[in-house]
């Protein structure tokens, strides 16, 4: 059970990371068409829900972790702010009609790079587990 939970937790974290890379490409001037935006949104959505569900499940499953541990609370907060920033960025990143690169306004780019920052901090928190 534990190994299955861990596998899906890590797998969904990779989906989240893949989504961040894809959105970064759009913000940096890569072409953005409907299929690529859709795939990025699906990866972000499945990755986000998966990391949360399997992460909380893991915390409940393992006796050495408590859901109210500082590093787990920090991870939950980072997950929420990353999703907030991601929602803001996704709303402004709309595919162009011909699938070419789009001009990204500064607020959308800022929201996206904040999402990147939160996800990097989330990964660091998971690896470091401060206080565990």
């Amino acid at each position: 059970m534990y190994h299955a939970l861990l596998f899906f937790h890590v797998l969904t974290a990779f989906l989240l990371g893949a989504a961040v890379v894809m959105f970064s490409s759009f913000v940096l001037g890569g072409p953005i068409n409907r299929p690529s935006k859709l795939v990025a949104e699906i990866l972000w959505g499945v990755g986000g829900v998966g990391t949360l569900v399997f992460g909380v499940w893991l915390a409940l499953n393992r006796p050495e972790y408590e859901i109210c541990d500082g590093w787990i609370i920090a991870a939950l907060v980072l997950w929420i702010v990353a999703n907030g920033a991601g929602a803001r960025a996704s709303r402004d990143l709309q595919p162009s009609a011909d699938g070419s690169a789009i001009t990204v306004d500064r607020r959308a780019a800022f929201a996206h790079w904040m999402r990147v920052l939160w996800v990097v901090l989330l990964l660091l928190d998971m690896v470091w587990k401060p206080g565990a």
Binding site: L6, V10, V21, P31, V39, L43, A59, R62, V127
Partner: protein, 154 residues
């Protein structure tokens, strides 16, 4: 990710972070290249094709290097460099080496296509399909690697 850090030694935090972050960038770049390549089949867009190859060169390759440096660093810190017959480690190295080979082949094919595009010639659709196949194969191989790294079969 919680238990990738079952390795509790604080000396391994940075290498483990680099290993996972590099792997995430690598997987993300491969996924992006795959999506662009498939979209370029349907639309015939040269811009999408070029972007796919650029994603491999500017993101997948550096991601692979960081991921592999992190892996070697952890192995060194944990004294795993001389260990043999550890199944999960063998799977990891095999997938990593196999993935590197396919990535290099993809980069060479992509590089030739980009050169042709720069000369104003039409890029080969067969090359794009071969690279799509290779990228898909590498992604599946990395799925197996994630399974091996998390479940650590003996």
């Amino acid at each position: 990710m919680s238990v990738l850090a079952l390795i509790r030694d604080h000396n391994t935090i940075l290498p483990l972070f680099l290993h996972i972050a590099g792997a995430m960038v690598l997987v993300g770049a491969l996924a992006l290249a795959g999506v662009y390549l498939i979209a370029s089949w349907r639309s015939g867009s040269v811009a999408l094709l070029r972007s796919a190859y650029m994603a491999l060169f500017y993101a997948a390759l550096p991601g692979y290097v960081v991921f592999r440096i992190g892996a070697a660093w952890i192995a060194d810190k944990e004294g795993l460099t001389d260990v043999s017959n550890v199944t999960w480690l063998d799977i990891g190295y095999t997938v990593s080496d196999f993935g590197a080979l396919l990535l290099i082949i993809s980069l060479v094919i992509g590089g030739i296509s980009v050169r042709r595009m720069n000369r104003g010639e039409t890029p080969s659709p067969v090359a794009a399909r071969i690279v799509t196949g290779l990228v898909s194969l590498v992604l599946i191989a990395y799925l197996v690697a994630v399974w091996a790294m998390t479940t650590k079969p003996t």
